[in-house]
Symmetry: C2
């Protein structure tokens, strides 16, 4: 067939960028199970189990916990458009690309959006939010817990308190954080939350886990207007994911298989062990990079373990190093977005990608490329530093 493209062939990469992360082989095997119908009793059983596992990972009892049939950004849109009616006010906290995206989504949903901003890489204090709440009196406050564009780790618990004192609902983006650091939907009193599958859950992109509190559902079920999106209308999705099983749209069956298996892997390891692994590999990477003169871009004390935004050393060509990693080592890392373009690399250690072997491989490959580029350091120094972290942990 000379006029057809070649049969599918794909390279074998090590994914150490901002996501997707490497998909666990068990998840790939689940993806390839033969498709069944979306109303098959066996599929409904899989959905039930999936919901239970999602509740455990989100640490919530919310009945309305499910997977939206789209990627993380569809989860963001679902959270916003179900809570917002035209004319509602929403406060959006912007310290990177994804806060900015949330403000755009809210504006398109008809919200009167108030944005508060802080510099890229920094996080919001409780006082920042309190001050904004005094002037804007929003119905909903939206904030990103793990800014994938900067690596900043935004504390949520204290902010939730002031948001609720002001009578607002709290909407949190945990696309990059879920499965990598603690996320406590019930304990922190989060009203709407969304994530993606392709970060710390080790599943390909394509679904967006979401959860809505009882308070959020009350607001949603008492809307004056229809949700602008039919596809993302939670009250209709509730009838399919709930006990009635009313057909809404055809679910992405094989992606559901994949998420089932990915959640099972996370829960087999245990959430706390999973968080500890993410933290340990982060510390090893960080120790290694420091010896090469490469520091973290996010505010000290607020560095995410799974997304390491790091300063590109002066004189080093961003694209040449990333191209070298990809072409010669099959390693993907991410470049900077927006204000960080050309200035930072984003190194992901997420889900199945968060492994010692990957930390050592990356440091080794980076040393080689940086040395060729004339960057001065003692060869092997970063591997030794990372090794120390692992040795200390093994004792």
């Amino acid at each position: 067939m000379p006029d057809l493209p070649p049969p599918l062939d794909t390279p074998l990469r090590t994914l150490l960028g901002p996501g997707p992360s490497d998909t666990h082989p068990r998840v790939l095997a689940a993806l390839a199970r033969p498709t069944i119908g979306h109303l098959d009793p066996e599929y409904l059983r899989i959905m039930n189990e999936l919901q239970q596992m999602l509740r455990r990972v989100f640490r919530t009892q919310n009945p309305m916990t499910l997977a939206i049939s789209g990627t993380g950004s569809a989860g963001m849109e679902a959270a916003v458009v179900n809570l917002i009616e035209p004319g509602d006010s929403m406060l959006v906290c912007v310290n990177g690309v994804f806060g900015g995206r949330m403000a755009d989504v809210a504006g398109r949903a008809g919200a009167n959006v108030t944005k508060i901003e802080c510099p890229w890489g920094e996080v919001f204090s409780v006082d920042d939010i309190k001050a904004a709440l005094e002037t804007s009196r929003p119905k909903v406050v939206g904030i990103v817990m793990a800014e994938t564009s900067t690596g900043a780790w935004q504390p949520i618990e204290e902010i939730s308190r002031v948001v609720h004192e002001a009578g607002a609902l709290l909407l949190v983006d945990v696309v990059t954080s879920l499965g990598g650091v603690p996320v406590e939907v019930d304990a922190w009193n989060i009203d709407a939350i969304y994530s993606g599958t392709q970060k710390c859950l080790g599943c390909p992109p394509g679904l967006a886990p979401v959860s809505f509190s009882a308070r959020a559902m009350e607001v949603i079920l008492n809307r004056r207007t229809k949700v602008q999106s039919w596809y993302l209308d939670i009250s209709m999705l509730a009838s399919y994911w709930g006990t009635e099983r009313v057909y809404h749209h055809t679910a992405p069956i094989n992606m559901t298989y994949a998420l089932y298996e990915a959640l099972r892997i996370v829960l087999e390891e245990g959430l706390d062990a999973c968080f500890a692994r993410h933290r340990q590999n982060h510390l090893a990477l960080r120790a290694g990079l420091e010896t090469l003169g490469i520091g973290m871009a996010a505010q000290e004390g607020h560095q995410l373990p799974m997304l390491n935004a790091v300063h590109i050393p002066p004189g080093i060509d961003d694209r040449a190093i990333r191209k070298g990693l990809l072409d010669r080592f099959n390693i993907e890392i991410g470049g900077g977005l927006g204000a960080f373009a050309g200035k930072v690399w984003r190194i992901g250690l997420m889900g199945h990608s968060s492994r010692r072997a990957n930390v050592l491989l990356l440091l080794s490959a980076l040393e080689q490329l940086l040395q060729e580029a004339g960057h001065a350091f003692e060869p092997g120094v970063s591997l030794a530093a990372a090794g120390k972290i692992y040795s200390a942990a093994a004792k």
Copy 2:
């Protein structure tokens, strides 16, 4: 792990319902290829090839031909919300569930919706559309080519002429028809079209192929208001799927692999051969069912080959037969929706499910169950009738 659900296990079904259809084994293997990044040069190459193949299947030169990151209903919503601005008028033709859904989606997008209806199972005539156009003067006319709820095959070409004479844009649903019967985007002058992957393309659900004409893109790029959906905004998606490759959202990588392989299989067989296969298996099924006293529900001459809505014989228990097929034969067929609930079965012969072996298996299983239920016929009669069609074709 006693508190965890069992490892993923899924039954082996033969999917002869309204979709999903059976996924081809080569497509399952493609799904399970290791994930790569959505900005990887190799992934961008796959996207390019995928777009070329989509254009061939849609029979179009439209640059704006791509796969939306959601199921068919997300494709419907994408087509509607990009063309419609609040206050625009839209004419929607409703003769089943999916026309009704389109009217709902359009209303949520702020359209002034005019619905014209015809009985379930029937199709619209050119005169029906002409009359409606004279009174409503819409910006967009929406119509379903293959009503999955009724099996009715709506002709498009003539309608397109009168729609364009009235200065309107034509939006067509080909979720169930694409790959099973001819769909000619350019020759029929269709402005916006959407499909799903899980019907005649033989791929799991999760992506929605869409295409927009130059005229539609002119309307979209000259909107006064932002598209209400950020996730489905075609002008932003154009920058990712176009030459600039500007990051929009993380694409569903493995589902893209699957669609690539599925389209390659369709094009290897050849579209005309694919349509002929769908037609032949339909004729064999129909001949077999007729001997059992089971007739088609759609208007004579407008019966879709891939979706056979058939009348349940008097005195036969809808659910008992479907349960028997599933539990004893691992065969899924569909029940009726809406006005057809309890009255029709929907038998799909789509994509990889459209095979002789499946027609013979279904007739054989149905004979057994109907006989047990006391329905009178000569055993083997339906298989002989189907066999005649195949024998005639083999000569």
